[in-house]
């Protein structure tokens, strides 16, 4: 089955990104396809490569990057939400790309299910 995933909140401050990651990983492990992970609202902060969590904590940004590379995921960051919040190519972590909101709607059309994680 084809899943699209929407992440509405940034790393650490809310659990949304953690939950989305665990869901995504489980879906991939089960053989499902994840057509796109879309980062909107404060969710764009998940793409900030400058994030440097404490050594005993998970690295939310790097974890998304690695999952993206490993599975060829499309990690799409909304350009409008990102501009507002200072998330641009300058600070984009590997595996993420800046795209438009149209990519979210497209994902909603193409996927069998769109699952939202937010506050």
């Amino acid at each position: 089955m084809k899943f699209a995933i929407l992440v509405n909140e940034g790393p650490f401050n809310h659990q949304a990104s953690d939950s989305a990651y665990q869901f995504c990983k489980a879906a991939l492990d089960m053989g499902h396809e994840v057509v796109r992970v879309f980062f909107y609202y404060d969710g764009v902060h998940n793409a900030n490569r400058l994030s440097e969590p404490q050594s005993d904590d998970r690295n939310v940004v790097r974890r998304w990057s690695e999952l993206g590379v490993r599975h060829g995921l499309d990690l799409s960051v909304c350009v409008a939400a990102g501009l507002r919040r200072g998330i641009k190519d300058d600070v984009l972590a590997p595996g993420f790309r800046i795209t438009g909101l149209g990519q979210l709607i497209e994902a909603g059309i193409e996927a069998d299910r769109l699952v939202t994680f937010g506050d």
């Binding site: 929407l6 909107y40 609202y41 409008a80 939400a81 909101l101 149209g102 497209e106 059309i109 769109l114």
Partner: protein, 125 residues
Amino acid sequence: MSEEATVKKFMYLNRKAPHGTIYALEVLEMILVAAMFDQDVHVCFADDGVYELKKGQDAKGALEMKDFVTTYRALDGYDIEKLYAEKESLEERGLTAADLVVPVEVIDRAAMAALIDSMDVVLSA
């Protein structure tokens, strides 16, 4: 069925008050983009979401924040015509359809529940 032929029922479900958080504004940006795809778009307002449509808002004059509420009036021009507000949510807040910036269909909670249940994609905030 070809990609072009896919028409899904999309709902944009607004449950948050405007200005205190950005969700109302960024959902609206989402709806404007969604209008460019030929999908069956439903825009719903329930709980504090009904406050988004209150007449007379002046975020810029009062607080230098962005006045985005007038954009709801432009939705008609984008062929987005299915707007619904929940009756119970309006009543709890002392509002009626006459207080709102755009004409909406006021439906009761049971009808809202049935509408939600009929959707293919629900985008909520």
